[in-house]
């Protein structure tokens, strides 16, 4: 098992390089140099000052040298300094990542908690009202702009009904709350963002689960399970599910980039101080070093997510576990 993990991790190294290459390429698409913003906006900056800045950022060296020195810094998480406030990019990201991770993990739990049972029930009761309405909702879920749903929910719950706060992750007098009230406060602030974050993937997962279950239910070994005298729930939730869940694990891994990317939208709408919002702000301010840092980190998180999904899959499917472990 450990050998499998090691093997897969090593296989990811070329992907790691590829990610860095593409990130590097993206930043160098910019016409002019990244330092232009700082220098060209200020006519008083002399030619020497500009040359000094370029030297500082290594922009006077040939491209491939720049790439390797950038690469060397990345592996120790040195993404340079923000163009906006000169703070270390890694610091800025580090203080924002926890909240983004929290929301994404919560939404993942929601997706699994609702999507999987929904998919199973739709498969088991194919053609029923539940199945048909879930299919309709799924299609709508695929087609609806997430940010629009965010606006609608915000309008309904925050403005019209006033049940939930409009934005941020804590109320103004948060500091004065008791621990219990603090937790409740954060929870109230997180309900809408988590719901929106989960929304898009929910449709996909439940549909995928349904398809996988339908495929499994018709297998011979399910008939054998019934022939042994097992109850229908044992047949479905033990025998069928354990098989059907396998492709769903893969899909979960594949949906990680979508979740991370989607965080830009809901964090901006709900003013959540997370990594997605930082990315948006950096984009608006053309803070290239921060943009680069987050882009690379985002890709790595995806890589990590895929690796975890891979490991989970190989653990769950004995056909892989048995052959790889030997």
């Amino acid at each position: 098992m450990l050998r499998y993990i090691a093997k897969r991790s090593i296989g990811l190294i070329p992907v790691f390089f590829g990610i860095t290459l593409i990130s590097f390429f993206v930043i160098h698409l910019a016409p002019g140099k990244p330092t232009d913003i700082q220098t060209s906006l200020n006519p008083k900056v002399s030619y020497e000052a500009r040359a000094r800045l370029e030297k500082l950022y290594g922009l006077d060296k040939p491209v491939y040298v720049q790439y390797f020195s950038w690469l060397k810094r990345i592996v120790i998480f040195d993404f340079g300094r923000s163009y906006v406030d000169d703070r270390l990019v890694s610091e800025k990201i580090a203080e924002r990542i926890p909240i983004t991770l929290l929301i994404n993990i919560l939404s993942m739990m929601l997706i699994l908690g609702i999507g999987i049972p929904l998919g199973i029930l739709s498969a088991v009761r194919r053609g029923s009202l539940l199945d048909k309405s879930t299919t309709v909702l799924t299609f709508i879920g695929f087609s609806i702009p997430e940010f629009w749903v965010a606006l609608l929910l915000m309008s309904l719950f925050s403005i019209t009904l006033g049940w939930l706060p409009i934005s941020g992750i804590k109320s103004l007098d948060f500091e004065y709350y008791s621990l219990g009230a603090k937790i409740l406060d954060v929870a109230k602030h997180l309900i809408l963002p988590v719901a929106i974050a989960a929304f898009g993937s929910l449709a996909g997962i439940s549909r995928y689960m349904r398809t996988a279950m339908v495929g499994v239910i018709h297998q011979d070994y399910i008939r054998t399970a019934r022939a042994k005298g097992l109850t229908e729930s044992q047949v479905i939730y033990k025998h069928a599910l354990k098989n059907a869940i396998l492709p769903v694990i893969t899909i979960l891994g594949l949906s990680v980039p979508g979740l991370i990317g989607g965080s830009v939208i809901f964090e901006s709408i709900f003013a959540i101080p997370g990594m997605g919002r930082l990315f948006y702000e950096s984009v608006m301010a053309r803070d290239y070093s921060t943009i680069m840092g987050i882009l690379t980190i985002g890709a790595f998180l995806t890589l990590l997510g895929n690796l975890l999904a891979d490991i989970a899959y190989s653990y769950a499917d004995p056909r892989i576990r048995a052959t790889e472990g030997e």
Binding site: D220, Y221, A227, K228, G229, L230, N243, L246, P318
Partner: protein, 263 residues
């Protein structure tokens, strides 16, 4: 006085009953005598597998029993409630399926699947269940049952898996064992081994058997009584020797002719 363990009377199983029904089983009747082997023979599509599946109400989606009685020791299975039916499945009536490669769940070990079959019906601890499982694996002449216990289906050969299927069916000492074309999906040499195993089981255990096959040769070897099925009906039935020597129906005759032509 003949005692029948199973009596099927006028069984009808239709598919797609609402629109244009496919009458897969259309009035099948026969009886299996206690502790005897009854063979159901017929070509593909004759409805023999479906008849067998109906006994435990394992009919595939889209089909339903529309008429008839299935009397097991006098009680009509068709009218049974779910709980009683589940009590029968895998304990008093057990079934071995045709394709061993797909009959076992790929993500569970052999051992856990057999133990599960035991624990559904018997209130025993894990150790006892494991012991019983190993005992049955030995019973079907599987070499090294301890190792097989922890193996997964994909690691084993077809012949071994079919033996496991038979072992799993025997764990709760069934009164009626249904064998649905148990050798059809296997290589010829393995077929012979499995049939030998079956003969051994029949000799040593006290049970009644419903043996389904399209191969008259196999039927002739294994069975005491025979029923010939064609297009959803039993066209002829009776003692094996009687059918083999003096078949009455034209279908039976042509079936026998084709076997003779091959041998």
């Amino acid at each position: 006085m003949r005692e029948n363990i199973l009596e099927i009377k006028n069984l009808k199983v239709y598919f797609n009953a609402s629109q244009q029904p496919v009458k897969a089983v259309d009035g099948v009747s026969f009886a299996i005598e206690k502790n005897k082997v009854f063979g159901l023979v017929g070509e593909s599509g004759s409805g023999k597998t479906l008849t067998a599946l109906s006994i435990l109400k394992l009919i595939p989606e889209g089909g339903s029993i529309v008429d008839g009685e299935i009397l097991f020791n006098g009680t009509d299975i068709i009218k049974m409630d779910d709980r009683s039916l589940r009590g029968l499945r895998g304990s008093k009536i057990a079934i071995v399926f045709q394709d061993p490669s797909s009959a076992l769940n790929p993500v569970f070990t052999i051992g856990s699947q057999i133990v599960e079959a035991i624990c559904v019906h018997q209130n025993v601890g894990k150790a006892k269940a494991k012991a019983r499982a190993l005992e049955c694996l030995n019973r079907v002449h599987i070499p090294d049952p301890q190792k097989i216990f922890h193996d997964y289906p994909h690691q084993l050969s077809g012949g071994t898996k079919q033996r496991i299927g038979i072992a799993m069916a025997l764990v709760n000492s069934p009164e009626l064992l249904i064998l649905d074309e148990p050798t059809t999906a296997l290589d010829v040499t393995i077929q012979a081994q499995i049939l030998e195993l079956m003969e051994d089981v029949i000799k040593k255990e006290k049970l009644s058997i419903l043996f389904i096959s399209h191969d008259f040769g196999v039927i002739a070897r294994m069975c005491d009584e025979v029923g010939v099925m064609c297009r959803g009906r039993v066209v002829e039935s009776g003692a094996k020797d009687a059918i083999l020597r003096s078949p009455k129906e034209s279908y039976t005759i042509s079936l026998l002719e084709s076997v003779k032509a091959l041998t």
